[in-house]
């Protein structure tokens, strides 16, 4: 085992992909000389050169569309969009082109592009750098949406995403980059991105979450465990397509579900998961499904207000207790 950060894991994954497949290249704003807005590609320019570590102008739609076109043209591009907030400038390319081309062409074209972006709040970056819009992408047929929440997944998921012949949107929660963890000294690193992962087993309630909320869910489960409440924690890993089977089988065991999602509650992924539980495990439930989401407000700057807006460990604990009527 060795100890690395989430950022190191992403960088190692990028380097490995570039080494393994000469069709892979990285492009985005400041990925080269600057080393990446979150330093994920630091050092890669020297190793792989300007062609493959390609700095782009501030043209999200242009370079994301170029990534999609390059994928059509036989390359395996990794497009880095600085944050999900900026990705709204390339929503047209992702939703109208990348997601549709396979079907719209009657199966003639595939778009094997990976589009990475940071997401989420927690660093006092206010309302234009902090939102969690994963569910916007998870809404769209033709896309796969993944969210590595652990160091091992950060290390392994990129290659799995590159092996997918269709467009993959990869969300990296900005508060995870500095997280440290132990991973195996050597590979294989591949992650099964068709399956959710059980990060903690339990029998009294299921906490379903992903990405930056996983550490909070695990902390809540730890505290509850000390009180004698046993929580199962499911890390979705892939937000589209959802591993419904894993969600339902866990709820069938615990009979209670709490969904933690940093998106806004209205129209959230948590709402979709809740609906799937109603449809598939209604008679297994001993309590209404609970949701812990972000308050219905643009993310504020002030530290205490930002914290109040986001899912917290305390709110998760309270939600689990409610489902247990404790």
């Amino acid at each position: 085992m060795r100890r690395i950060t989430y950022r190191d894991a992403i960088r190692e994954a990028l380097r490995e992909a570039m080494q393994k497949d000469e069709r892979v290249f990285l492009m985005g704003e400041d990925v080269g000389r600057y080393g990446g807005a979150y330093a994920c590609s630091k050092g890669l320019l020297d190793e792989f050169g300007e062609e493959r570590i390609r700095d782009t102008p501030l043209s999200e739609s242009g370079f994301t569309g170029a990534g999609i076109g390059a994928a059509l043209g036989g390359m395996r591009p990794i497009v880095e969009v600085m944050t999900v907030n900026f990705s709204l400038l390339c929503l047209d390319q992702i939703v109208n082109n990348a997601a549709t081309l396979r079907h719209m062409s009657g199966g003639q074209f595939s778009v094997p592009v990976v589009i990475r972006m940071a997401t989420g709040a927690g660093r006092q970056l206010a309302a234009q750098h902090s939102h969690s819009l994963e569910n916007w992408y998870a809404h769209v047929p033709g896309l796969r949406v993944v969210a590595p929440a652990t160091i091992a997944d950060a290390r392994g998921m990129l290659w799995s995403a590159l092996e997918d012949p269709d467009p993959v949107i990869m969300f990296e929660h900005a508060t995870l980059y500095n997280e440290e963890g132990d991973i195996a000294a050597e590979g294989p690193w591949a992650v099964d991105i068709d399956r959710a992962a059980v990060r903690r087993e339990g029998k009294d309630a299921t906490i379903i979450t992903y990405g930056g909320s996983l550490p909070k869910a695990l902390a809540a489960a730890q505290t509850l465990g000390e009180e004698g409440v046993s929580c199962e924690v499911i890390d979705l890993r892939t937000l589209r397509p959802l591993d419904t089977e894993r969600i339902l089988s866990s709820v069938a065991n615990t009979h209670r579900a709490v969904i933690v999602d940093e998106g806004w509650r209205t129209g959230s992924l948590a709402g979709e998961i809740s609906a799937q539980i109603m449809e598939g495990a209604f008679f297994e439930l001993d309590a209404p499904v609970a949701r812990v989401c972000t308050a219905e407000t643009p993310i504020p700057y002030a530290r205490h207000l930002e914290a109040a807006a986001l899912p917290s460990v305390d709110a998760i604990i309270a939600a689990v207790r409610r489902t247990l009527r404790r």
């Binding site: 370079f63 076109g69 059509l72 082109n97 079907h103 009657g106 074209f109």
Partner: protein, 332 residues
């Protein structure tokens, strides 16, 4: 039309070929309009009538290995590129034998075999893709041009500017072809652009640009040959502005309140087919009899296309979700 064209193969065979292609597009689309009224074709139908010289002229300069990205007004481009009229018509019908298995319709004709990446129906949305295709070719060392068609309305979109900048910055082999028909749906160019000389946009990104008479197929072919030669030599983009005109409505829902009938009539006098016919007859390349034969041949192709589309099967509803994602077995 002019007296001389330097870069065009001025032979009877080539003139016949150009006439055949333009007349095929015209008659094919006239039939489409008829079939639309008969409710065989539904959805949007954007006719290219009046603009045929552009697709036909530009395609002459492209090789089979080059890439094409087109718009929602792309029937003409598809036919000029050599897609079978049968498959294009079946796509209009929404049949399983259509070029996109009935999933695309009039606006999304695609053919991997022809490197025809499709009709893209978000104005400006095809340009970044064309840049990416060209980037892939450059990185892989392919000697290939990506030709991207769009209308002058696209010049108002951010994606137009982003794409021109990227193509120039990275010296990519893209032929940008702006088919300037004067109207973005119903909005005239001068009512939507502060700079109506579209070439100047390209030049501001250091892209060489030329405006050409888009009603003159030989002028278009000449300009496209010149452009693709420059692209292949310099590995940088080139921008063509084809000044043309759409004789029919924007789509079948358009009442054409925004332009005068006299304006349309004036352009029709300079129509690409009438001009070319007059020129080829006056210059002894083709005769009235030749044109009669071309019309006959085209009528057979169009009738066969309709018969093919009528007889073609519908996609099974069970296959609705097929090809939303790539089946595991098809992994590249």
């Amino acid at each position: 039309m002019r007296e001389a064209y330097d870069r065009v193969d001025l032979t009877t065979e080539h003139m016949r070929d150009l006439a055949h292609q333009m007349i095929l597009i015209r008659r094919f689309e006239e039939k489409c309009a008829e079939l639309y009224s008969a409710e065989k074709i539904r959805g949007f139908l954007h006719l290219y009538i009046g603009e045929e010289a552009n697709a036909v002229g530009v395609m002459q300069a492209l090789k089979p290995d080059d890439n094409i990205v087109a718009t929602y007004r792309e029937h003409g481009h598809a036919l000029a590129r050599g897609l079978p009229a049968t498959e294009v018509m079946a796509e209009m019908y929404g049949k399983a034998s259509g070029s996109s298995r009935g999933r695309g319709g009039s606006m999304h004709i695609c053919s991997a075999a022809h490197r025809f990446y499709g009709g893209f129906a978000i104005v400006g949305g095809g340009l970044p893709l064309a840049v990416g295709l060209a980037l892939a070719d450059k990185m892989r060392g392919n000697d290939r041009v990506t030709c991207c068609f769009f209308g002058e309305g696209a010049a108002a979109e951010g994606e137009f500017h982003e794409s021109l900048n990227l193509a120039a910055l990275w010296k990519l082999p893209v032929l940008f072809v702006c088919e300037n028909n004067g109207y973005a749906m119903g909005t005239a160019l001068e009512r939507s652009e502060s700079e109506t000389d579209i070439c100047r946009h390209a030049q501001s990104y250091q892209i060489p640009a030329a405006a050409v008479d888009g009603m003159d197929v030989l002028a278009v072919e000449e300009a496209a040959r010149d452009a693709t030669e420059k692209i292949r030599a310099s590995e940088g983009p080139f921008f063509l502005e084809n000044r043309t005109y759409r004789f029919r409505a924007h789509s079948m829902f358009d009442a054409e309140l925004y332009r005068a009938k006299e304006e349309v009539a004036e352009w029709e006098k300079r129509g690409p087919l009438v001009q070319f016919k007059r020129w080829t007859i006056e210059n002894d390349f083709l005769s009235d009899d030749d044109y009669a034969m071309i019309e006959q041949d085209v009528a057979v192709i169009v009738n066969d296309a309709v018969a093919f589309a009528e007889d073609a099967p519908w996609e099974a509803e069970e296959d609705l979700l097929k090809d939303v994602t790539t089946p595991a077995a098809a992994v590249l």
